[in-house]
């Protein structure tokens, strides 16, 4: 039985992705040696960190069969919020929890719209995107600048062994907690159950609405952490720092094998997906291709990976005859 299980769980999307990643990394070693320079590696890891932290949150949301397209705008808001605190001299130890709280609060708003008002997630978050985006310039005009050293501490001073950015450590901690959480917590089972069959989950005693709202809150806290990493990278924080990032996060999750239909998906896939997305821009750069092509490559990689994994599924479908359940249509209850 154990052997069977191994065989079944061996050839997953994550596995193929990992192989793809290894091949690309080896090729880069041959074709673009500078890719492995310390500087590039460290900046890549920093990008990877904030993509992954948010993608883990997005993954949880997508597993519940919802989505969040407001993340970019939300991160922009949190960036400005923390910059305002930073300007007032609040140190990192205060900024981090503040960012997480702010992210969680805004994201909870999304969750409430979706559950209480019964609005499909994509349109609800579409609406909140506009609200977040509109609020931003009201908070500050353009940007907050001349931020003190205490604010940029994370990006410039907090280095592990003097070189590795501290964001990597944060990311590592978040990932390990997420892995444990998704495997060993009761809550994670509820998330998967809702994504599989919300009605069934309700019948099994899961408070679906509350679980979804909490999931959004957790994801929001993670978005807050990403925001802090993004915001502290310089002495100036503008009101477009997160613009468009939601698509990168969703892409990382989808690339990592999570179905947007919900109910399935693993953290480990998201890790690989996030790494591939973080890697594209520098890889292209070191291969001597114009950085203008990075988005096209990103798009092509996502299309190819979903079509290939979809094709696998189609094939499977062909051999297993569609199950035809007897359905007593027309009963009211």
């Amino acid at each position: 039985m154990n052997e069977k299980k191994k065989k079944a769980s061996f050839l997953t999307t994550e596995f193929y992705l990992a192989i793809f990643l290894v091949v690309v990394l080896l090729l880069l070693g041959v074709l673009a040696k500078d890719f492995y320079s310390i500087n590039n590696m460290m900046s890549l890891l920093n990008t990877f960190s904030y993509i992954l932290i948010s993608a883990i949150g997005m993954n949880m949301i997508i597993i519940t069969s919802n989505i969040d397209v407001s993340t970019g705008a939300l991160i922009s808001v949190v960036c400005l919020f923390t910059a305002a605190l930073g300007k007032a001299g609040v140190p990192f130890a205060g900024l981090l929890p503040a960012a997480m709280l702010m992210g969680a609060a805004l994201s909870t708003l999304n969750g409430l719209f979706i559950t209480k008002m019964k609005i499909p997630a994509i349109v609800a978050t579409l609406a909140t995107t506009q609200i977040f985006q509109g609020v931003l310039p009201l908070l500050v005009e353009g940007s907050i600048y001349d931020l003190p050293q205490s604010f940029t501490w994370l990006a410039f001073e907090a280095k592990i062994f003097g070189i590795i950015p501290a964001s990597v450590l944060i990311c590592l901690i978040v990932t390990v907690i997420a892995l444990i959480f998704m495997k060993y917590s009761k809550f994670s089972k509820k998330i998967y159950a809702i994504g599989n069959n919300a009605n069934g989950a309700r019948l099994a005693g899961v408070n679906v609405n509350r679980t979804v709202v909490i999931t959004y809150a957790i994801a929001g806290a993670l978005f807050g952490i990403s925001a802090i990493i993004i915001a502290t990278a310089g002495q100036r924080v503008t009101n477009t720092m997160g613009t468009g990032l939601e698509m990168t996060f969703i892409a990382a999750v989808v690339l990592g094998g999570t179905s947007t239909a919900g109910g399935s998906g693993k953290i480990i896939g998201t890790v690989i997906g996030a790494f591939i997305l973080a890697m594209i821009a520098p890889a292209i750069n070191y291969l001597g291709i114009s950085p203008n092509w990075s988005d096209a490559v990103k798009g092509a990689i996502i299309i190819i990976s979903v079509v290939v994994s979809g094709a696998k599924y189609l094939k499977k479908k062909r051999v297993i005859p569609a199950e035809k359940l007897a359905k007593a249509g027309g009963e009211a209850s």
């Binding site: 039985m1 495997k183 019948l203 099994a204 035809k324 007593a328 027309g330 009963e331 209850s333």
Partner: protein, 506 residues
């Protein structure tokens, strides 16, 4: 029989505008299997949903294991020992068997200061339960990889993880093969022997008489009767369910059978169908019997061009056909009515007339592609009258019709295409006794008008009552055929079952 473990008194439940249950009484004893039967919409499922906390009753009392209870959700019911196994499984397809068994009541253990899931403990208990059920299932398999029967085992195991002493089965055999049904009955009997009380909801008389100890009949949300199985018979139960004695079940009228109209030769589809040949004569009703999964639906869908990959030759009125898709089939006068109304047959959120016109919108064209709504409405009205659909107007939403009337819309949709050959797949599945008789009458009348019909059905009495000839399918090939004069249920079952055994032994 043991003591009473579940008692319902005067249960009343209303939905906005509907009185679903009106004073239902029921009691269940430990160590008995108690059937609840009634027509579709009689309130059986609603009653059980009240018992297990999906719905809350408006009034009435429920006593479970000696204590008065009122569950507000199924979890509460589970914890008090009441488990239900729903008609359509409520399992989580992407999750593993183990996750499903303990969902909502996972075992935890302490790891330092936090509580984590205790996979070891859950695994041990799950293994014990499957041992008790005498079934082997890979606990790490995803539900979507399991067959229907295995899924049901998981549901039963799930009930046992709660230490349930009352288990409710809601039409558990609807999608099982005969062999799986036999295995399921053994397990239900074992559970009964160990003192559990079983509520068994079913349409199928044969099953009720084979399995159950007592039977309670409900009709239109009202309690009708409770009887010992040993002291009643099928006719009596049907009379209770319908409220009057049923006359002839199957009004097959004698029709003149003409020349051969349709012939299939050497039909083959790898993995599904093997070397199938058959023919139909004008005005004939040709039946296809077989167990679930024998390939009957696959054969018909393949002939109609839904799969588009089979080999073999098909002749209609002496002309060889090359059907690439369903449109080709329809153009040649071959029309298929799916077994699954809600999923493939009808768009329930559209009106009757819109459903009827959908397959032949080109015939309702006005000008450069506009829709002739007047013509559509007339057509709808025509069929409401002709087929006897009980609806106030042709623009009435199909979702608001009863199952039987929905099926009549399905048939109308096919008839509106003026078919030469009509293929009906389980035409009376999920419709109540009255509607069933009406549909049989319609089928009979159609053949008198010269239409040729192929009918797939899992109900042998229906096939035997209605068909001129019956083919029996088995594992994708035709295992036997019978004429109307010399067919019996036993003969069909022998063919459908025995070759399976041979194959397994060989």
């Amino acid at each position: 029989m043991g003591q009473t473990i579940l008692e319902l008194h005067d249960i009343v439940k209303t939905f906005p505008g509907v009185l679903a249950l009106n004073g239902i009484n029921f009691n269940l004893q430990g160590g008995e299997i108690h059937a609840i039967c009634g027509e579709n919409g009689a309130g059986k499922s609603t009653l059980m949903k009240v018992v297990c906390g999906v719905h809350e009753a408006d009034s009435g009392t429920m006593v479970v294991n000696g204590k008065q209870e009122n569950f507000s959700n199924p979890m509460e019911a589970y914890e008090k020992g009441v488990s239900i196994i729903f008609q359509e499984t409520s399992l989580f397809e992407e999750m593993t068997v183990l996750d499903n068994l303990f969902l909502g009541h996972e075992k935890t253990k302490k790891a330092g200061i936090i509580k984590v899931l205790d996979y070891g403990g859950m695994r041990k208990e799950a293994e014990k339960i499957f041992q008790r059920l005498n079934t082997k299932i890979n606990l790490d398999a995803q539900i979507k990889t399991l067959g229907m029967a295995q899924k049901q085992m998981v549901e039963i195991a799930k009930a046992l993880t709660f230490d349930a002493n009352i288990i409710i089965f809601d039409e558990p055999t609807a999608s099982l093969t005969q062999r799986e049904v036999t295995a399921l009955f053994k397990i239900i009997n074992d559970l009964k022997a160990s003192g559990l009380g079983i509520v068994y909801i079913s349409h199928r008389m044969e099953e009720i008489f084979e399995l159950c100890d007592r039977v309670t009949v409900v009709r239109d949300g009202q309690y009708i009767s409770t009887k010992n199985i040993a002291e009643t018979n099928k006719d009596e139960l049907v009379a209770d369910m319908v409220g009057r004695k049923m006359g002839s079940y199957y009004p097959k009228s004698e029709t003149a059978i003409g020349e051969e109209i349709f012939r299939v030769e050497g039909y083959y589809d790898e993995g599904f169908l093997e070397n199938i040949s058959f023919n139909v004569k004008k005005g004939e009703i040709l039946g296809f019997a077989g167990l679930a999964g024998a390939g009957r639906t696959e054969l018909m869908e393949s002939i109609c061009g839904f799969t588009g990959r089979a080999a073999g030759t098909v002749w209609l009125e002496g002309k060889r056909l090359h059907i690439k898709n369903y449109k080709d089939a329809m153009a040649n006068g071959i029309v298929y009515v799916s077994e699954d109304r809600g999923k493939y047959g009808l768009i329930v959120d559209m009106s009757i007339q819109q459903n009827i016109s959908l397959p032949q919108l080109e015939n309702f064209k006005k000008g450069p592609g506009f829709l002739d709504v007047k013509k559509e409405s007339d057509k709808g009205a025509e069929y409401i009258k002709e087929v006897g659909i009980k609806a106030p107007a042709p623009d009435f939403l199909v979702a608001n019709l009863s199952g039987g009337n929905q099926q009549k819309v399905s048939v109308s949709k096919a008839l509106a295409m003026n078919p030469k050959l009509l293929i009906l797949d389980e035409p009376t599945r999920g419709v109540d006794v009255n509607a069933k008789a009406e549909i049989h009458k319609i089928i009979s009348e159609l053949t008198q008008k010269g239409l040729t019909i192929i009918m797939i059905s899992s109900e042998l009495p229906e096939l035997i009552g209605m068909c001129d000839r019956i083919y029996v399918m088995k594992d994708g090939y035709i295992a036997g055929s019978f004429d109307r004069e010399n067919v019996t249920q036993e003969k069909i079952l022998t063919v459908a079952l025995e070759s399976k055994k041979e194959k397994q032994e060989g």
